[in-house]
Symmetry: C2
Subunit: 646 residues, 2 copies
């Protein structure tokens, strides 16, 4: 097995970037305190979280029963994970004290045998581990383990990691191939990638084995979820087929799976773990499965924004090329899952095309999930919005056109937070002698190679500007691998002002410069950002006759407040003459794009249908804004895929 | 009040027409016996009807409880109504004997006070009239009254009419403005138009008054349905608004209503009755309401096929110009309701544009509801079909791409049957001195005017051919009013071979020829049927950039079996060069249309999105078939609104 890429500790990464600074500051200074109030049920008008209350009861500070969804604990765990990431890079004594308090509660809430899950411990502990399919015990514990690792790394305090090990040891005592243990696996995947992280930090192979057990066991016959159902005294209708298990990807053994199916977040968390574990074990057939599933998601079931899982019912994948724009689901958490999966595939394959997908998801479908002020969220990220449909048809209220401050099922907000706080891990990677830059985000990173170390500084106004400057801060011998984005077909690289032959040095999407670097060496990357008209694969019905507008990594959209109503009557001109322009005061500063278009206007319609020329085509100029920034002004229509003359 | 049009007795109408003969023969010879088996639960594989069984129990022939939906009785009543229509024009002793047997059962099933409804009489008769909103007693009794009138007219046997009068008298004893009577109205409208018919045949004004009471009472405050709910000891959630009453059009008084809302069949049955009763009473404000509601349906909420009620949830109207093609509902019964409403408006207004809508609905959205062999039905009539969406997305299984032989809720099949058996009533109308021809369907009709009578004979190969010949079979003085279809902009009329100046004789869409007719006088109507590219009002989002193809009254579609998959990649050429051709062996004989088009074909797509020219536009020829005939060959994609070069 070839050596794969590894991540840098967040401690080694500092972000200082005009695009991201404000977002990260808002997340740290506004979102973190706000979310704490939400977990404490102190946000007026928001649905209560009960997350803290449940732990207060579980740790003996209050009396009562469990409240909220069965996976309520996990919201708080994602928050702790985010806090841990922050504490790896910043001092924040108030936050640290707050989390220390939670850790104390968690320690008390943990049962003597290591079990930790308020849903069962506050309701009916006798019934624990009897409904692995639906009740999210392993999911919650997985998020706890991730949180513990992050917080341990951020503070060096072992207490939470010890709790996590006891949790994992308990799970290992319940599940496994040995006689008497449950032969099950989670109904919502997550524990696998958490156990993998725990193995990496503790070096205890038992956790890796348990993660691999869950993956190998999944979808085998006899089917565990059918067996546990029978054990609970229930019987599923015989008329149901194995396809019902697609929801949680247990319809067949993982290494036989070729199509991404079922609940999208579940699926992507599984695939992420599959990539981690297959890579660690050098398990070729499992890597092949990961690659097949990658192709299924990215080559056949992904929106141009990185939105995945298009179906509201079951929050799931549907079928190849079924990518509706208006009714799509595209849960923010699923796009985060895609970023995780892409990151892992990039590490295995050392191929920039996987990082291209991280970038696509990050600047589009992920960022659209949160408002510019960081205070409200989309759970669902459509690519086309007609508010009347949401308000006046029944069954579409799952799609919103105004972001919400909180949700009864609040998985997305803390998931967005932990992803933002962990952004550094997506920027850089390395192997023993090469520093990889996957995202162009300003700041510094410190790489340690076998025999040397180096600090690299990035300066850029990406994604608006086309220039990235990289300064080598100390002399060292290593290779610098710069991702040449898939969207860019005329990149240039300059070393200390001298152009390099990019074709000659590019490998798997990276321009690789190997040399003995001197302090102050400067690499300049030029990534010309022409505005592009993107067409969709003709198998995608919803995009027929339409184009999307993209500049650099950023996908654009039309909004009603710039272009009036009935966006469907706008047709981009064949030579649309796109004019990008940075507007400082627009949407916290964006490059907006104007373009020549035709608007079909009513010329005397008094009926629904006619063979007379009642529609006039008039020339107009339309204005595109970045998709991620939609719905930050007044509510209205929005459209990514726009009709276009061919 | 100006004299309005009246219908001809079916007895005076004989249909002999190449397009309709086979359909009517199938309905009479196949559907009528088949449906009898269905009502007797003898159709293998079909969901049981229980319709006969319930009446056998209610009349003491069997023991048991009520089975099926609360409105199960109405299916059988629509069947009796259809049988009555048939017996008005044909001898069918077997059918008559069968219905006589049912009538005997009905007589026994009727309670001494006139009540007739197996759902309550077999379950809990004490609870009758306690849930008028949901339990369809008035709806079923309305259908029974319509059935009784039809069967009485067909056979002259008064027994069923007497039962109907006792039913109506019972209803009159329960509902009305008088002290102690319920101030309610039906949850599903139907009784109003039935009572109107009963008034017309019995001349008993009490029935008209009761129908008018139901209409005037509807939507008044205090709200009857809220009151009956409280009476039943229930309480509706306060958070619900008056809008919840839109479902059954009781959200405001009928004469204030301006928008067609709620369940489409309910709405259209109401509007039909409103037109009947407003006209009879010369009630201008009610006629104005009917006109407003007509405009709401036909000018803002109707598919080009005459399909209405686009929403599956609540089988309802949504909002203006919301006319999705793929997910639409367009229940066959709603299109029948539209035909009824249009017929009544035509009678009031003597305006051909209302009959245009009868024709549009009849040849498109109505006929699509039944297979060419008359054996299977669509409940839902989409204008675009992608079978993968039905099979692989969740929540779309209400749309079918293969017609079904029967339904658990089987309102549509007998509704189609009674409409076909009553087709004559849509062809002709008259006032005191004018014979109106609204539909061009071959056969004879006998008109009686104040001082004379005339037999008229139509010969035509409509809707394929453009010629209608009308022979006057006896000398008489009267006006002949021929509808000039709205789709035809170059009609010609010849009297005994000599062209008339059509502009001079046309009034409200009718070419009116007033003269002393001689036996053998011949009027020839030429209705040139160019193929037309129809555009949609630009407010309709789903049809943006698309056209529909129409020839004469027939709307066309593309089917996969003629044009391959991915119909969305077909773009009609600007000058599409339509070639219509009658094909005897295709779909029981239709004019099919070929046209020049462009097909966007895959030229090397290995990804979802690209700015490279991976799609090639190649010239092709596509073939359109009449929409009504889709899904009579192998299953596959279908599309009415097709992309088109502008």
């Amino acid at each position: 097995m070839a050596e794969c890429l590894s991540e840098l500790d967040l401690k080694k990464i500092c972000i200082d970037d005009p695009f991201w600074n404000k977002r990260l500051q808002i997340a740290a200074e506004n979102t973190i305190p706000f979310m704490w109030e939400a977990f404490n049920d102190n946000v007026p008008g928001a649905e209560p979280s009960y997350a803290i209350k449940n732990f207060r009861i579980a740790s003996g500070l209050e009396e009562g029963k469990h409240n909220g969804v069965p996976w309520q604990d996990s919201d708080l765990y994602k928050y702790i994970e985010a806090a841990g990431y922050r504490l790896q890079t910043e001092k924040d004594p108030e936050l640290e004290a707050r989390i220390d308090g939670i850790v104390d509660m968690l320690e008390k809430a943990q049962l003597p045998d290591g079990y930790l899950d308020t849903y069962y411990s506050l309701n009916d502990i006798e019934k624990r581990w009897t409904n692995i399919k639906d009740d999210h015990e392993l999911y919650c514990m997985g998020h706890f383990i991730e949180a513990a690792i992050s917080y341990y790394k951020g503070t060096g305090k072992r207490k939470i990691l010890d709790i996590a090990c006891r949790v994992a040891d308990h799970i290992d005592s319940v599940f496994g191939p040995e006689e008497g243990k449950l032969k099950g696996y989670p109904g919502h995947e997550e524990i696998e990638l958490a156990l993998f992280k725990l193995y990496k930090i503790t070096k205890n192979k038992k956790y890796l084995d348990l993660a691999a057990f869950f993956i190998n066991q999944r979808g085998t016959v006899p089917h565990f979820f059918e067996q546990e159902l029978v054990k609970r005294g229930q019987q599923e209708a015989e008329s149901q087929s194995l396809r019902r298990h697609e929801y949680n990807q247990s319809h067949m053994p993982v290494r036989e799976q070729a199509d991404a199916v079922g609940h999208a977040v579940r699926a992507l968390y599984l695939y992420t773990a599959v990539a981690d574990i297959a890579n660690e074990l050098g398990d070729e057939s499992l890597i092949n499965a990961a690659e097949r599933l990658w192709a299924s998601v990215v080559e056949r079931q992904m929106h141009i924004t990185g939105g995945v899982g298009t179906q509201f019912i079951c929050e799931s994948f549907t079928f190849d090329y079924d990518l509706p724009n208006d009714t799509t689901y595209n849960e923010t958490c699923a796009t985060i899952g895609l970023m995780m999966f892409a990151q892992r595939m990039n590490r295995i394959k050392k191929d920039a095309r996987y990082a291209d997908i991280v970038e696509r998801a990050l600047y589009n479908g992920f960022l659209s999930g949160v408002s510019l002020d960081g205070k409200s969220y989309f759970y669902v990220n459509p690519l086309e919005m007609v508010p009347d449909i949401i308000d006046k048809r029944k069954g579409f209220s799952y799609v919103k056109y105004v972001r919400q401050s909180w949700f009864g099922c609040a998985c997305c907000p803390p998931n967005v937070l932990r992803t933002l706080m962990n952004l550094g891990s997506y920027i850089y990677a390395q192997d023993k002698d090469t520093a990889y830059i996957n995202l162009y985000i300003g700041g510094k990173a410190e790489f340690e190679f076998e025999n040397s170390g180096v600090v690299i500084e990035q300066t850029t106004d990406y994604p608006w500007g086309d220039t990235v400057e990289i300064i080598i801060k100390n002399s060292a011998e290593f290779s610098l691998a710069l991702r040449i984005p898939g969207w860019c077909d005329s990149a240039h690289v300059y070393l200390n002002g001298k152009a390099l032959n990019i074709a000659r040095i590019t490998n798997a999407g990276y321009a690789v410069i190997k040399r003995s670097w001197k302090e102050g060496d400067k690499v300049t990357l030029k990534l010309p950002m022409q505005v592009k008209k993107i067409q969709a694969n003709p198998k995608i019905r919803s995009d027929a006759g339409k184009v999307a507008v993209q500049r650099g990594p950023v996908v654009y959209c039309l909004e009603q407040c710039d272009n009036g109503k009935e966006l469907w009557n706008i047709v981009l001109a064949k030579n649309a003459n796109f004019k990008p322009k940075y507007e400082e005061d627009l949407l916290d500063g964006v490059v907006a794009i104007t373009a020549d278009a035709i608007r079909e206007v009513d010329k005397g319609w008094d009926c629904l249908y006619s063979d007379l020329p009642r529609t006039k085509r008039v020339k107009t100029t339309v204005k595109f804004i970045p998709y991620y920034a939609w719905s930050n002004r007044e509510p209205g229509e929005m459209m990514v895929w726009v009709r276009s003359e061919r």
